[in-house]
Symmetry: C2
Subunit: 399 residues, 2 copies
C-alpha cells in the first residue's frame, strides 16, 4: 500500500442531495441558517408560559384561557400569548410569541370553548426545540471526508443544501488484452474465449466507489496497447487497468508502453505476492496505470490489495483495503513460502457457539474459475510466515 | 419481523450482466456450454505428450522436435502433435490434438530451430485445464437467491450469459405529509420547514436495494392522503411510506385511508417500540403501506426494523435487518421499560486492545436532528429488560 502513497484525492464535483448517498464530502458544511428556523413544539398540546403552570397538580389544576390554535405551517407569532393563556399546538408547530413551553395534551382537560385545566407543571423550554437548537447559523454540520448517509442527506435537505460538494469518483478504464478474447455477447470461434476480466474489473471498480469504464478488447501487441492506453488517458481515466495478456510477451509490451508514456514513472514491476506477482504499476501525474496479471482470479487479488485502496484514496476515503475482515481458523494446513504474502481463496463456515468460523481452502488447478465463484474471501498468509497449521487462526478478507 | 411473514418476494426482471452487481439471482444458472470451450494451457511453455517426458531429468533431458507454435486465439487442433514432438504454447492457448500436458518454458531449453530439451517430466493433464473442467454444459454455476458479486458476473460473461434473471427491486414510494412542509429547494415561509423525510427515506430505500421514489409533499387531510396513496399504488409501488404528519389527527387519517383501500388489511397499529410506537402497517395484495412516525429519527428506526427487512425479502434476500451488528459496552446506565424494545442512538468508540468498544448514548431532546447525524448506530434494549447497567454489553446495529 506504500506504493500508493504518492497519489492524491481527486478534485470536487457537485451532486444533487438525492444522489449523495455514500459519497464523500469535499468540504466542511456549515449551517447556512438556523435549524429549526423557529421554535417548534415537539408534542401535541398547548403552548404556555411555564410559570403559569408552576405548582399545579391533579388536585389543583391551573386554569388557562384558550388564546387560539396554531395551525401547522402558520407562524406562531400571529398569536401573541398573554399571561394566563394557552394556545393549542401540534407537533412541529411554531411556538407563539410569549410562550416558552408546551404542555402535553394528556396533562390537560378542556372545560369549555375558552378554558383548559393543566394538571402538571412544565419547565421553561420543555417540549420545545428552540430556533437554531439543532444547528445554529455557522455551526459545523458535517466535516470534510465524511461519508454521507441517508440521515446526513436528510439534514442537508432540511438546511436547503440541495447541491453537495463531494470528491469526484475516479474513472477506471478497463482494457482487456489477448488475441484469444472475444466480447461476452459473441460466440467464440475456434481457439477463442470470452472476455471475463472486463466485466469483473468494471464491476469491482463500481463497487469500490469508482466509475468502471470497459474500453473493449485490445490486440496483444505494443502498438495496440499503446493506442488503447493513450485513448483511456485522453478520455480522462484516473486509473487504467490493463488486464489479460498473460503471455510473457504481453507483460514486456505493457512495461514498454507504460515506460514510453511521457511523464510516466514506474512504481512497481513485480510484487512479492501470490497470486499477483507479475503486477506492473506506473504513475503519470495523478493517474495510475496497472498491468494486472492475466488470470481473473489473480487480477482480483491485486484489485483488492491495490486498486480498491487507490479508488478509496482518490474518492476521499481512507487508504485501506475496504473489505470486511474476520478471523477464522484453518481447517487444514496451508503451506507457504517466507518472503511472499499469500492469498488463498477460502470458503468460510460458521460454527455453532462462540468458536471462530473455519476457513476451508478451495484448492484448484491454477487458472480455474470455479474456486472464484465458490470462495467467500481471501485468507492472508503473512510475508514472514512459512504457512499456517491446521487450527491456526488467520485473517480472512471477505469478498 | 413476524409482521412481514405474509409478504412474498417480487417477480423477476432481466438485467445486463454489467448491471447485475448486488442483485439477487431469480433462478439457478446452469452452464449453457463447456467452459473452457477447449483444453487450455495455464502456462507459457510447450504442449507435449506427457509420456514423452517420463523419466527425463537435468542430466538426462528428453529431446523433442518442435512441431510449431500455437498462436493465441487459433485452434490448437490445427497442429497435430505426433509422438516425440512439442508445440510452443502460451498461457490460455488451445492444446493441440495429440498433446495432453504442458511443460513450463523454464524446464526446457531450445537447442536449435527444430529441437528442445525437457528437464522435468510432466504428468498427463499437468498445466492444462481440460475442456469443460470449470463448468461442463448443464453444470450448476450459481443458485437462485445468490447475491451477484463482480467475480460471478465475470463468470456469467465468460459463459456468454449477458442477460441475467434477477429479482425485481421493490419500488418504494415516499410520501411526506404535513402542512408545515416545503420542498428542500424552497425557502420556507413563516412557520414552514423543509421536508427532511423524503430525502432520508428515499436514500434509505435505495441503499437497502429498493428504488426510492419521492412522491412529494401532501397536505395533512384525509382526501389528499387518500389521493396520494392511490396514486402511488397506480404507479406500481410495492411499498408506500407515508411519513411526517406527526399530529394525532394525521395518524387517524392515515389509519382511515389505509383501511379504506379496497382489499387492504391492517397488520399493525402501534408497535411496542421506542421510538416508533405510532407505526401503522397495512397489506394490500403483496403491497405494504407504512404510516411512519413523524420525526425522521423515529422513522429511521422503523425503517431499519421493518422497511429494510421487507425490501430485502421482496428483492430475494433473507428477511433480516441487513445492518452490521457489533457488541459494545454501555458507557453509562441506560434506563428502559420492560415490555417495550428500545433503540438508543449511540456513538461507538473503539478502545485500544481486545476490549469491546464503548457505546455512548447521544441524549438529546426528542425531535432534535443533531443526534442523528452524530450517531454511529442504534443500541438495542430488549423487550424484557428494564435497562442496561454501566459496563453492560449490548447489541449495536451500525448505520
Amino acid at each position: 500500500m506504500e506504493l500508493l502513497a504518492g497519489f492524491k484525492p481527486l478534485d470536487q464535483e457537485t451532486v444533487g442531495v438525492d444522489q449523495g448517498c455514500c459519497r464523500i464530502l469535499f468540504e466542511d458544511i456549515d449551517s447556512p441558517e438556523d435549524l429549526p428556523p423557529f421554535s417548534r413544539s415537539t408534542m401535541d398540546g398547548y403552548a404556555v408560559r411555564a410559570r403559569d403552570t408552576f405548582g399545579c397538580s391533579e388536585s389543583e389544576p391551573a386554569l388557562l384561557k384558550i388564546a387560539g390554535e396554531i395551525a401547522m405551517g402558520s407562524l406562531g407569532s400571529e398569536v401573541k400569548l398573554a399571561p394566563g393563556h394557552a394556545a393549542r399546538i401540534w407537533t412541529g408547530g411554531a411556538l407563539p410569541a410569549g410562550a416558552d413551553s408546551v404542555v402535553m395534551v394528556e396533562y390537560t382537560h378542556q372545560i369549555d370553548d375558552h378554558t383548559i385545566e393543566v394538571f402538571r407543571p412544565v419547565a421553561p423550554a420543555e417540549n420545545v426545540i428552540a430556533q437554531g437548537e439543532d444547528f445554529s447559523r455557522g455551526h459545523k454540520v458535517l466535516a470534510r471526508g465524511h461519508e454521507l448517509r441517508p440521515q446526513d442527506l436528510g439534514v442537508l435537505a432540511g438546511l436547503g443544501l440541495t447541491r453537495i460538494p463531494v470528491f469526484r469518483r475516479p474513472k477506471v478504464a478497463v482494457i482487456s488484452t489477448g488475441d484469444e478474447l472475444v466480447p461476452p455477447e459473441s460466440r467464440p470461434g475456434p481457439g477463442k474465449i470470452r472476455d471475463i476480466n472486463s466485466t469483473t474489473l468494471a464491476a469491482l471498480a463500481n463497487q469500490a466507489g469508482g466509475i468502471g469504464k470497459p474500453m473493449g478488447i485490445v490486440k496483444d501487441d505494443p502498438g495496440s496497447l499503446q493506442m488503447a492506453c493513450e485513448d483511456a488517458l485522453e478520455k480522462g481515466a484516473d486509473i487504467v487497468l490493463l488486464s489479460g495478456g498473460s503471455s510473457v510477451g504481453c507483460r514486456d509490451y505493457t512495461l514498454r508502453v507504460f515506460e514510453s508514456l511521457s511523464g510516466a514513472e514506474l512504481l512497481a514491476h513485480g510484487i512479492s505476492l501470490r497470486p499477483g506477482k507479475p503486477t506492473i504499476l506506473a504513475k503519470r501525474g495523478n493517474t495510475a496505470l496497472f498491468g494486472l496479471p492475466g488470470h481473473v482470479a489473480s487480477a482480483i487479488v491485486v484489485f483488492c490489495l491495490f486498486v480498491r485502496p487507490l479508488i478509496r484514496l482518490m474518492s476521499g476515503r481512507a487508504l485501506t483495503v475496504g473489505m470486511k475482515e474476520i478471523k477464522a481458523v484453518c481447517r487444514q494446513e496451508i503451506p507457504s513460502v517466507s518472503g511472499r504474502e499469500d492469498f488463498v481463496r477460502v470458503k468460510v463456515e460458521k460454527k455453532p457457539g462462540p468458536d471462530l468460523p473455519e476457513a476451508v481452502p478451495i484448492w484448484g488447478r491454477s487458472g480455474l474459475l470455479r474456486p472464484l465463484v465458490e470462495a467467500d474471501g481471501l485468507l492472508v498468509i503473512p510475508r514472514d510466515s512459512e504457512g499456517l497449521e491446521k487450527g491456526e487462526p488467520a485473517r480472512v478478507l471477505l469478498f
